[in-house]
């Protein structure tokens, strides 16, 4: 069964075409700068032949134009991938949040309506997905469109950690609770750890660190806590999003004369590592600035590390121990500095990094010292593969 996975960003589209259940990838593609009339970039890779097509200075004003680029290459006889677009049985989306829906669902009007209901709290994620899904409905009318929501993996978080101490009626009436996100990345880690270690019973903290960052406490393969809360704005400081903050900051700032729009913009676009450092949202440039003596850049890094350590410490206590720490995501896989700083702070738990291994990470590696009580890994999580699996499982059941 051929399943297409589409990852939608505010100005980007990423595609992977799978044969399932074999997990074989036929083709990958990426469109950047969607919305541009002159400057979009497109790349397509035929995985079987290794052939790569790269184009720039393209007009891709809408998602449908980017999707059309990819579909035309899939159908190109030279590529030999598809003869007919109807060969694509289903399209899976790494959707984020929909009111009352935390799992894998066909993207029908009810589910899309539930996504619209949460536009206010996940505008950067739901808006692009709603737009792109609408285009797929028109362009692939015979394919099953499936949303695998980021919140699904965290359904196992127990109620005492799931709920905020707000009036219980808010949970019932408005659904206010900690949903948790990055479910595909954390679930990939949860499913992969037994393959890596040979153990199915374990306590782990999965650190997905990137533009968005989150930590997940995993016990025997299930999520038991997550640093994300009701929205993806919470938890650790993100690249440009604020992370955890006292709720009363909002009414205080409104009283000081700021508008709700100014506050939410600051929280979602001018906070996090960018807001503290004042340098950039990309950690690579913040590290460079900190190494050059920029005190605020150093502070931003210290705050990220402190927040990671704080969550790992609390997850350790909640689970009553810790067997593994995993690092994934752009920062998790690539920043030896952050991994080193975090692990040094966790020395009291018996966490000990092998510096040489940490300095020479390529993809998936064990980087803990031989005498470390907690094993440490970097993991190249494959979220698209998780979505493909979920979409495949859903299409078999329905």
């Amino acid at each position: 069964m051929k399943i297409l996975v589409c990852n939608v960003g505010s100005t980007s589209l990423k595609f992977k075409l799978y044969e399932m259940p074999e997990k074989k990838v036929y083709a990958t593609a990426k469109v950047e700068r969607v919305g541009s009339e002159t400057d979009a970039i497109y790349s397509f890779t035929n995985v079987a032949t290794g052939e790569k097509i790269e184009k720039d200075h393209l007009a891709v004003p809408k998602y449908k134009d980017g999707i059309a680029l990819f579909l035309s290459d899939l159908l190109d006889k030279k590529q030999g991938i598809l003869d007919d677009i109807k060969e694509i049985s289903a399209v899976g989306f790494k959707t984020v949040l929909a009111k009352g829906h935390h799992g894998v669902f066909e993207l029908n009007e009810e589910v899309l309506g539930a996504m619209r209901d949460y536009l206010f709290i996940a505008p950067a994620h739901n808006r692009p997905y709603l737009d792109a899904i609408g285009e797929f409905q028109a362009m692939l009318p015979d394919a099953l469109l499936v949303g695998s929501f980021e919140t699904a993996f965290h359904k196992t978080i127990p109620m005492e950690r799931r709920l905020y101490a707000v009036p219980y009626e808010w949970y019932e009436q408005y659904g206010i609770q900690r949903f948790g996100f990055h479910g595909h990345s954390h679930e990939y880690t949860a499913r992969h750890l037994p393959e890596l270690t040979g153990k199915t019973s374990f306590k782990a903290v999965s650190c997905h660190l990137g533009g968005s960052s989150s930590l997940c406490a995993i016990e025997d393969g299930k999520s038991v806590d997550c640093s994300f809360g009701f929205t993806p704005q919470t938890g650790l400081p993100h690249a440009a999003r604020v992370g955890d903050i006292d709720a009363y900051v909002v009414p205080f700032l409104i009283n000081e004369g700021l508008s709700m729009d100014e506050i939410t913009t600051a929280f979602s676009k001018n906070g996090g590592l960018l807001g503290i450092s004042g340098v950039d949202s990309d950690l690579r440039f913040i590290e460079e600035a900190a190494n050059g003596g920029n005190a605020r850049a150093k502070l931003a890094i210290d705050m990220l590390v402190a927040s990671i350590v704080k969550y790992i410490g609390s997850f350790y206590a909640e689970m009553g121990g810790l067997d593994y720490i995993t690092f994934a995501g752009g920062i998790g896989e690539n920043s030896k500095t952050i991994r080193k700083m975090v692990c040094e702070k966790l020395g009291c738990f018996g966490v000990k990094l092998d510096e040489e291994k940490n300095n020479n990470v390529h993809g998936e590696c064990e980087i803990s010292a031989a005498d470390s009580k907690v094993k440490i890994y970097t993991i190249a999580t494959d979220e698209e593969q998780m979505v493909a699996m979920k979409t495949y499982e859903y299409s078999l059941e329905h």
Binding site: N270, G278, V279, D280, F285, E288, G292, G293, N294, R296
Partner: protein, 282 residues
């Protein structure tokens, strides 16, 4: 110890000469194709090509590329001034440091909207991109608001508001000298040039400069060296020439073109700052 031959006396800015007299010791912290940066405690020394003219914390070399190749300097090497010259690692640059001869300042007319618009158009048609322009377009870390507020508050004489906006720009952006710093460098270089020529510069600019100077730990040491010296009114030949050209002295294309070639986006960012300052005093 190998000695790098140098037959001519080298010109140096005031800070470089002071470091030499103090026989200070430091280390090489950045080696680039046309510049070598060394740190001496909190101070930075720049070895640069002589086409840069005078840099207050720099020593101008006839051939920086050949010098760099001869030294094969690596980051972390020690640097020291000795009686025989500048020693970097196992190499010695025999040198006599002299103050540069400055040409008499050209006379120039009062800045006009036409000249400023012409320079602005020149900068943008030169393919200016990235840097502060990206930060402004995306309003990254409130860049757009800060840039706008800095100019507006100076016009209104609101020193506190101007200072807050300027401080927010320190360290903003990527690279050796972040875009926000380059912008402020251009901004205050132009104000200094205008003041020197007897033009009316908003008094709030002094308080604004003091606030930036008090917050230089928000950026890298190298960038702080550029920005701090610009704010203190030290003489940077290339920036000064561009600022004067913007204010009406001679052909601006030659001087602005040189600045535009500096760094990845530093030149553009510096000129953007200078243009904004020229608009403030117009």
């Amino acid at each position: 110890m190998n000695t790098v031959s140098n037959t001519k006396p080298l010109t140096a800015g005031s800070i470089a000469r002071r470091l030499c007299n103090a026989s200070a010791a430091g280390e090489v912290c950045g080696v680039f194709s046309h510049a070598v940066y060394c740190t001496f405690g909190d101070e930075v020394l720049l070895l640069h090509g002589k086409e840069w003219g005078e840099v207050p914390f720099g020593i101008a070399l006839d051939d920086i590329v050949a010098f760099r190749a001869a030294l094969a300097a690596e980051v972390g090497d020690t640097v020291a001034f000795t009686e025989r010259g500048l020693r970097i690692g196992a190499q010695l640059l025999a040198c006599t440091l002299t103050a540069p001869e400055r040409p008499a300042a050209e006379r120039f007319a009062l800045p006009g909207a036409e000249r400023i618009a012409a320079v602005e158009s020149y900068v943008h048609t030169s393919g200016a991109q990235g840097g502060i322009l990206d930060c402004i377009a995306q309003n990254r870390a409130h860049a757009a608001e800060s840039v706008e507020t800095l100019s507006e508050a100076l016009r209104e004489g609101d020193a506190e508001r101007a200072a807050a906006a300027a401080v927010r720009l320190i360290g903003l952006g990527r690279g050796l000298t972040p875009s926000g710093d380059d912008y402020l460098c251009g901004f205050f270089t132009l104000l200094a040039a205008a003041k020197e020529h007897g033009m009316n510069v908003p008094s709030a600019a002094n308080a604004c400069a003091d606030a930036v100077l008090a917050n230089l730990d928000r950026t890298s040491r190298i960038s702080a060296a550029y920005l701090g010296n610009a704010l203190r009114g030290e003489h940077f030949t290339v920036y000064d020439r561009a600022a004067r050209a913007l204010l009406g002295a001679g052909d601006f294309t030659q001087h602005c073109a040189f600045v535009l070639r500096m760094g990845a986006s530093s030149g553009t960012d510096t000129l953007c700052g200078a243009i904004a300052a020229a608009k403030v005093i117009l």
